[in-house]
Symmetry: C2
């Protein structure tokens, strides 16, 4: 039996950076796969994709409070660190490092921390009089620097989750500066996120190549997501309406239906009839994410919908 | 006669990064001194400070359109690249690289650029319906990622220059990602800028040590600035009121006057009487930059004032 590679688990950011620099000085290339843990086959496919590009693989597991608003599901976000490691070990080639920091928004030195324990993953601080607030906002000398991709962050998921993409862009910047990878792999299931990170890397001159990895699905077509575990059996069945109607819309478009209103109605109606609540169903340009009225160039059909208390997203690219 | 070191002049960002990585792989440390050119003794003192920390010195010379609003003085900002090089050569130890890019917001590939020339330093594009606009904003796939240090950027100079610090933080991030230095030196004359960059580096986990360098002054006390050349002889004389009144306020504070309103009135009145127009005169905490009512801890007295068409800034630290 093949002996499986156990990843090195690093929790300290200085140790993480030193590991990367040492590897780089030996001529190795590094790919980062950022995750919030509770890994499924979708994540594992990102790691497999990473192996196509770099010598060494770092998977980060960190539930980022900066991308949750106080009203969102930070406290119930699922986690299973031990299970995650077991899954990563099964991947051919394995992973070299799992970066699992405790709190990336606590900037006190080790000395200041001695008699102090903080866990911002369990509480959201609300600030009076502040407009856009995430779960790391606090007064005084707390974290206050945010990376914003100002146009791309506004539409789609940005409408109902105003702090989300600023939180994502910021934590990814932090991870890039700590891990200093040559490549980073993002799933195209989070299509807007993938485009935002691509744009951010270009605009801020990061020397990192962003790899987009295709959506992984269950055998019945449901896009894999850590949030799927919260679906009841009944909700899960209803949620199949998303992918099914998206595929139908894609097929209609390919047969000549180029009117986006018609295609959107098809999807909205199907999800509605299944008992889901559509947050948005938009057909947008693949790069600018601007809404299209008619399909004339490559677009992506993006959907977010609620099934019970679970919000799911999915998309299909339509290339004309 | 000692032969003087001629800096290597690099205009291409990939070449710049390759130079830094090659130097780092040989165990050298690099300090970056970001400037907008038209160098004076203040800048040269930053380079001298840089020599105290690193083996190799990179001075960037780039007038950043991203920190100017369309109504500001981008088009008249003084420049003298040849003169700048001559000055840098006189510094003991010299500088190793002058990074002098043409346009850091143009992301087309070399191929796309072949028959195209762009110079965003001569024009500001105004966008209808956008709130905060700098001279690099444009629709479509143009630059749209901004780094914001949300609390520190608001007060002092941020009040009258709403795009300024977002532009500074963003260009410094870009320069950090291109030059990849170990140290970066900023003048404490731009006190708020220095604190913002420090906070940004902490919050985004850049592995760069920020060095603050003391204000350099003409023999009569005027803080050195590239904008001083625009002052008439008469305005220049009047402008001395800034530093003189700041020193008087500091001395009063040291003698026991801790009331900030009294100290501010002293400065406002002095500048007013000299014929200047005060933009702000604030006594703030040295780190949080929050306004103080009474001096109980280390503060900095920051002033911005107009003399004719020239806006000058200056400050003194008051350590209690």
């Amino acid at each position: 039996m093949e002996s499986r590679k156990q990843p090195l688990i690093i929790t300290d950011k200085t140790q993480m950076r030193n590991w990367s620099r040492s590897a780089r000085s030996q001529g190795k290339t590094i790919a980062l796969v950022p995750t919030m843990g509770y890994l499924h086959q979708g994540h594992l496919s990102l790691v497999k994709e990473a192996h196509n590009h770099a010598n060494l693989i770092v998977v980060s597991i960190y539930v980022n409070p900066g991308q949750f608003s106080p009203s969102e599901d930070l406290s119930t976000y699922p986690s299973d660190f031990h299970g995650d490691i077991l899954k990563l070990v099964t991947i051919p080639g394995g992973v070299d490092v799992v970066f699992h920091p405790h709190n990336l928004y606590d900037y006190r030195t080790d000395n200041e921390n001695k008699n102090y324990s903080v866990d911002c993953s369990n509480s959201c601080k609300n600030l009076e009089g502040e407009g856009v607030v995430s779960c790391v906002e606090e007064k005084g000398t707390g974290h206050e620097t945010w990376v914003r991709v100002e146009r791309l962050e506004k539409g789609l998921c940005g409408k109902s989750r105003p702090v989300f993409f600023r939180g994502v862009a910021t934590i990814v910047t932090k991870l890039f500066n700590i891990v200093e990878p040559d490549f980073a792999v993002f799933g195209k299931k989070d299509y807007q996120q993938w485009r935002i990170i691509q744009r951010m890397v270009r605009d801020l001159d990061f020397s990192i190549r962003i790899i987009g990895s295709e959506v992984m699905r269950e055998t019945d077509g449901l896009a894999m997501s850590s949030r799927n575990v919260h679906l009841s059996a009944e909700e899960r069945e209803k949620a199949l309406s998303i992918n099914r109607s998206l595929l139908k819309a894609k097929s209609c478009a390919e047969k000549g239906q180029r009117n986006c209103r018609e295609l959107r109605n098809l999807v909205i109606q199907a999800i509605d009839e299944a008992g889901g609540k559509v947050d948005y169903a938009e057909i947008v340009d693949q790069e600018s994410l601007e809404a299209a009225e008619e399909i004339k160039s490559p677009v992506v059909f993006c959907v977010a919908a609620w099934f019970g208390k679970v919000r799911l997203i999915d998309n299909v690219e339509i290339n004309m």
